[in-house]
């Protein structure tokens, strides 16, 4: 037999065998990460569970020159039901809407004398502010393009160290081990923000690198309870649906989770927790879609209805706004301190804090 004919026939046979193999049904995968394989001293998280998200460093552009408006209606992409992160520094209230944050994830902002980075991860639904002054030097944060437990890993541009948003720690680089100084943000709806602080500023984007803010970039991710894009630890923890939004309160290595189910269907409610040995009052509302937490210093509070942004009062008739500041009463101007708190999807809390108390 001709040897060249043999070569051709073998190639053809290989092709046909491969086609049969290719058509064999494959089983579904699961969404747990690979087991940690090392204790690399350069990383405080398992290096083999840190994944490249695709766009690369700064491929998702942070907003470094934020633009705000007091009249978002004309923009066409801010709806009453959209979620926003709000904060108050001095008398200034600012809102950072998810439709913008979904595309940029980090906003480097300055309010009064405070330089902060708003870090928001659309895959875990978690947002928090970090002080941008580190070791006395002002830095800015960018999106590293890396994910750990499907969660944002910012990098700081002075040291190029990589941080974990939900671990609240620098996990690689010269600042390894350092914790950020946090500024907790309140997540609520555009409707509630407008009702509480009409005329305050809302982020509408940044200079350059505009994105289609009216379009959510992750398809049905927010509402599909079974869908994860990257492996996460403890994804089999089914105490809540994966995308259920919970408030987590983090203080002194202690973490408490609070779901909306603790609050009444209408109006505003309070619930008490002890976090890191300290009493904390949690204020929440299903109707107005927010939860926040403050150290109560053993004061007793009761919820106040129909007076937003006032949400509670104490026994001395001090009335507190949603940011924990006394806005009426004998201690007007006083401010309750807050532990670190964040809203986020259940799967993220289960992944980072599997022992969290509910």
């Amino acid at each position: 037999m001709n040897s060249k004919l043999n070569l051709g026939s073998m190639l053809s046979l290989l092709a046909l065998m491969s086609i049969c193999w290719a058509c064999t049904p494959k089983s579904d995968g699961v969404i747990t990460p690979p087991p940690p394989t090392n204790s690399n001293p350069d990383w405080l998280v398992p290096k083999n569970q840190v994944f490249d998200g695709g766009p690369g460093r700064d491929g998702i552009p942070s907003i470094d020159e934020p633009l705000f408006t007091r009249k978002p209606d004309s923009l066409g992409f801010i709806e009453d039901f959209d979620l926003v992160l709000i904060l108050k520094i001095g008398e200034e209230v600012r809102a950072y809407p998810h439709p913008v944050l979904d595309w940029h994830e980090i906003v480097n902002d300055d309010i009064d004398t405070l330089s902060l980075a708003i870090n928001y991860c659309p895959l875990t639904g978690t947002g928090i502010g970090w002080n941008r002054k580190i070791n006395g030097q002002k830095t800015s944060f960018g999106v590293s393009g890396l994910l750990y437990n499907s969660n944002l890993m910012p990098y700081d541009r002075n040291s190029e160290s990589i941080w974990s948003q939900l671990k609240l720690q620098c996990v690689n680089g010269s600042l390894i081990g350092r914790s950020p100084q946090t500024i907790s943000l309140i997540e609520t709806t555009v409707f509630t923000w407008r009702k509480m602080y009409p005329g305050s500023k809302i982020l509408v984007g940044g200079k350059g690198r505009v994105r289609p803010y009216g379009t959510y970039p992750y398809g049905d991710f927010k509402v599909n309870q079974n869908r994860l894009l990257f492996p996460v630890d403890h994804s089999d923890d089914e105490r809540f649906p994966k995308k259920e939004r919970l408030l987590s309160i983090i203080h002194q290595q202690d973490v408490k989770g609070v779901p909306f189910t603790f609050f009444p269907k209408n109006g505003i409610g309070l619930t008490l927790r002890t976090v890191g040995g300290e009493p904390v009052v949690v204020i929440g509302s299903k109707e107005y879609n927010f939860m926040c937490a403050y150290f109560s210093k053993n004061k007793s509070f009761e919820a106040v209805q129909n007076r937003l942004p006032i949400v509670m009062k104490d026994a001395s008739n001090n009335f507190y706004d949603i940011f924990g500041q006394v806005v009426e009463g004998p201690e007007k101007g006083a401010q309750l301190k807050s532990p670190t708190f964040m809203m986020g999807y259940w799967f993220a809390w289960a992944a980072f804090y599997p022992d969290l108390d509910l």
Binding site: G8, S9, S27, G29, P217
Partner: protein, 317 residues
């Protein structure tokens, strides 16, 4: 020389499917496919493709943001052997270099590179018609998941799958190549080609997830002829290529920002060193891009190929 063969040699080497962020896969499917050669003839090719991708699109609209560049360079060795008067087999071995450059917002440059064996492919081609007035070839093949898909970045972290040289999946490739001369203009050929790539699943994606690149369909049509100049024959081809890529799927759920439709214009020119050896140069650029969601889209694709053939047995007359 058979014009159909010249045509196919011209057409296939330089047509590379677009590699977009999150939806590209490995850029080789339209490189596949020699013409059916002469009996007991070996055809070979050595190609280099450069696919530059910098345009950020939101659906059909290009966004004013060009801080990212993706590029795919492919070094491809191909060989086809005509072991029967109607059947040929083809082997396709790529080496892929993927690069991602980003101008970071502090004016730095972040670059990631992967380099490795891509997924080789084997095909069987059947010559339905091989007449002077009609040449029609059907092909069936498979791309084998032998390429590397565990490349890491400069920190030792696993790169995303569309930065990997290999896909980790078996793909099925179907093609049809039809060409015929224009009546009364035998030097001028019209060609119509269809290539469908049925993407398989990588069940080892990020450990144990399942990833499947979008199904791909390409329609290629054009016109070629030999131009006589400087005492040389210069095979020239003008063509259009339509590429449709379906959405990628992760764990059987469709992914946003993947897939789309593109229409490319292509020009290629050949130079014959001798009747058996040719150099082909091609350039291709999209004039219509409609990505799904927001994605990077190709600027242009450049290709250069050295092609030849060896007859192992003389014709029997």
């Amino acid at each position: 020389m058979n014009l159909g063969k010249i045509l196919c040699l011209l057409l296939f080497p330089g047509v590379v499917h677009a590699q977009t962020c999150c939806s590209g896969g490995v850029p080789m499917s339209s490189n596949i496919g020699f013409s059916t050669g002469e009996y007991q003839q070996l055809q070979y090719g050595l190609s280099y493709d450069y696919n530059r991708i910098t345009r950020l699109y939101n659906e059909k609209v290009m966004l004013a943001d060009n801080n990212r560049m993706r590029s795919t360079q492919s070094y491809i060795l191909r060989a086809a052997y005509q072991w029967h008067r109607r059947f040929a087999s083809e082997l396709f071995i790529p080496i892929i270099r993927q690069a991602r450059n980003i101008q970071t917002l502090n004016n730095g440059n972040d670059q990631e590179i992967s380099l490795g064996l891509g997924d080789p492919a084997v095909l069987v081609a059947y010559d339905v018609f091989n007449k002077p007035k009609l040449n029609w070839t059907l092909g069936l093949g498979v791309r084998l998941p032998l390429g590397s898909f565990s490349q890491t970045n400069n920190q030792g972290l696993l790169l995303i799958n569309d930065m990997q040289p290999g896909s980790g999946a078996f793909d099925l490739i179907l093609r049809s190549a039809l060409n015929f001369p224009i009546p009364n203009h035998p030097e001028s050929i019209l060609f119509f080609n269809v290539i469908h790539t049925q993407r398989g699943q990588n069940t080892r994606y990020l450990g144990s997830q399942t990833y499947q690149f979008g199904q791909e369909l390409q329609l290629i049509t054009g016109y070629s002829r030999n131009v006589y100049a400087l005492k040389q024959i210069w095979p020239l081809a003008l063509g259009l290529r339509y590429r449709h890529a379906g959405p990628d799927q992760l764990n059987r759920s469709k992914l946003s920002n993947t897939g789309g439709d593109w229409l490319f214009a292509r020009l290629s020119l050949g130079y014959s060193f001798d009747p058996e050896t040719q150099l082909q140069v091609g350039l291709e650029s999209p004039f219509y891009s409609h990505v799904k969601g927001v994605q990077l889209s190709p600027d242009y694709i450049f290709n250069i190929s050295l092609l030849g053939k060896i007859k192992f047995k003389k014709d029997e007359f």
